[in-house]
């Protein structure tokens, strides 16, 4: 479990993280979303103590990360796939990291196999592709068999097969009761992977809710109606909570009433309908709506 309370980080005049509080629960995958520069990476660096908070506090299982007797068993972190000396082989990097905690060669071999790095383990990291670098970063994160995983953009640079592998891996880790905190800019990926979302915009938390709630609450859902009697149907549908938009002739976008209700009304008035399609908002749209609001609010505040 990760607990942040009033966490703030300023770099000079710039506030990267602005008084945020959240809890990442074990046993589920928590997605950490936000546009570039929103403060996601900074927050993750604060959790593992690479940066010192300006104010506030963040703990992992009740203690500051640095206070744990075996930090690598508490938290496995992939913060930056390039956090490896380019002149060292992947295997030696893992062996050096493992040695600090007395983790044996056997476990190093396991994580190499697990991440599919067998063929390149003896090669220097400088020649690695982005995807291989990510796999090595994930191997390091898994090294200590940690109770909490913090992964910053883990699918960045991975091929489709790698993306699928990461998705299965994090779901499996969460199902074992571990805490999984995962950042990504791929909203569609989050919809498939995460159970819970923390959305960050300009250093502040915009939403902290289950994925389903974010999709449902983020934007209104609408129904697309195609009818030869579009004008007549629009009049029939008109009501206080119902909005009807005409995009092209014969096509209506209706909000505020279910598809079934529209069909019933049309039948009662003897109006033919050629298409009736419920439009569910994607997480991506919900996310855009959320962050757009934040940006608008900010612009007004500056003015």
């Amino acid at each position: 479990m990760i607990t942040a309370a009033g966490l703030t980080k300023r770099y000079g005049a710039k506030t990267a993280v602005d008084d945020i509080s959240f809890i990442v629960q074990p046993g589920r995958v928590t997605g950490f979303l936000g546009p570039n520069g929103a403060g996601k990476s900074t927050t993750m660096r604060l959790i593992v103590g690479l940066d010192r908070p300006t104010s506030g506090r963040v703990t992992v299982n009740g203690r500051a990360f640095a206070e744990h007797r075996a930090p690598l068993h508490e938290v496995g972190a992939l913060l930056d796939a390039k956090a490896v000396h380019t002149g060292r082989t992947a295997e030696n990097h893992l062996l050096a990291m493992a040695a600090t905690h007395g983790i044996g060669r056997q476990r190093v071999r396991e994580v190499i196999e697990l991440t599919g790095l067998e063929s390149v383990a003896r090669k220097r990291v400088g020649g690695f592709s982005l995807g291989m670098g990510q796999r090595l970063g994930i191997a390091v994160a898994l090294l200590g068999d940690p109770a909490t995983l913090i992964l910053d953009e883990p699918v960045n640079g991975l091929d489709p097969e790698g993306v699928l592998w990461v998705r299965r891996l994090v779901r499996h880790l969460a199902s074992e009761g571990r805490t999984v905190f995962l950042s990504s800019h791929l909203m569609s990926e989050m919809a498939l992977t995460a159970d819970h979302l923390v959305v960050l915009g300009r250093g502040r938390i915009i939403t902290d809710a289950p994925v389903a709630d974010v999709i449902a609450g983020g934007t209104r859902s609408s129904v697309l109606v195609r009818s030869p009697h579009a004008s007549r149907l629009a009049e029939v549908l008109a009501g206080p909570d119902i909005a009807v938009m005409r995009s092209e002739s014969g096509l209506l976008e209706v909000t505020g009433i279910e598809a079934a209700g529209i069909g019933d009304l049309a039948a009662a008035h003897g109006l033919a309908i050629h298409e009736l399609t419920p439009q569910t908002a994607s997480l991506e749209e919900a996310y855009m709506a959320l962050t757009a609001d934040d940006v608008e609010y900010r612009t007004e505040a500056v003015r």
């Binding site: 930090p71 956090a83 490896v84 030696n92 007395g102 390091v140």
Partner: protein, 284 residues
């Protein structure tokens, strides 16, 4: 949905029984030091320079002694001094390589981002710096010993041609050889401290090489007594004094071995203290 997806993780090894310890961090730093090519190259060059310089120096000294009838009949400690002088000559040049290696050991971690992995595994940071220091010191000291003792045997072989001999068992012989190796190890540690403070390979190397090569020359050229008085307290001057001075204790003319060692330790201590404070305080 391809079939090439690895199986879900298996936690076959009970890795959780282990925990962070200083011996573990020492082992980690040793793996890191020996798994980089720059280390192997640097140490190889230190030994090669030491042997090469000993060969050139001893050949030129033997030639200058014209058959060596005088030198061979000189007292034993005078003969030993010839051989030792030739044996430690390579340390003047080896110190530059040791200094560059010392900077790279830490600045390489900052430039590649490795430092973030290091500090995630050892979040209190200072133990990682301390382990790095211990490992670098011991490795450089051992390499320095191979370099100076190897140079001694090479020089002895050259001087044997004109009948000049020296015994490794004589304090006047083995103490300078140990001192030369110790200086190489200490300048590497000093440079590690500078590298940790500056966090840049180019900046760190410029700083330590400037201190070793430039500062003494500049002070020499300043026509003032104070400038000349400062020179013996500089790191390279005191360092050389650790193995070229003939007296152990300070005299009116020179500091002697122990005082020179003390001055060098002061420089090293200051650099490491600064490094420890900054490494703890700064964001990584």
């Amino acid at each position: 949905m391809t079939a090439i997806t690895p199986a879900p993780p298996q936690h076959a090894t009970p890795a959780r029984a282990s925990r962070l310890s200083f011996t573990g961090v020492l082992r980690s730093e040793w793996i890191k030091l020996r798994s980089l090519r720059s280390t192997v190259w640097s140490y190889g060059i230190v030994i090669a320079i030491s042997l090469g310089m000993a060969l050139i120096m001893s050949l030129s000294m033997v030639n200058g002694m014209n058959g060596g009838a005088d030198a061979a009949s000189a007292p034993a400690d005078q003969q030993a001094r010839f051989v030792v002088e030739s044996s430690v000559f390579g340390v003047y040049f080896g110190q530059l390589v040791a200094a560059v290696l010392g900077v790279l050991v830490i600045s390489g971690e900052y430039s590649t981002g490795m430092i973030r992995s290091t500090f995630t595994a050892v979040p209190k940071r200072v133990p990682a710096l301390a382990a790095k220091t211990v490992v670098l010191f011991l490795a450089t000291y051992l390499v320095g010993l191979v370099a100076t003792v190897g140079a001694f045997f090479l020089s002895s072989a050259m001087f044997a041609a004109i009948g000049v001999t020296a015994s490794l068992a004589a304090p006047g012989v083995f103490l300078p050889l140990l001192g030369g190796a110790l200086y190489l190890a200490l300048i590497a540690v000093f440079s590690l401290g500078v590298g940790a403070m500056l966090r840049s390979s180019a900046g760190g190397i410029a700083a330590v090489l400037g201190l070793i090569l430039l500062v003494p020359t500049v002070l020499q050229m300043i026509p003032a007594d104070w400038a000349h008085d400062v020179i013996p307290y500089l790191l390279p001057s005191a360092g050389m004094g650790m193995f070229t001075t003939t007296t152990a204790v300070a005299t009116a003319d020179e500091f002697g071995v122990w005082l020179n060692l003390l001055i060098v330790l002061g420089w090293v201590g200051a650099a490491m203290a600064g490094a420890a404070v900054l490494v703890r305080r700064r964001d990584a």
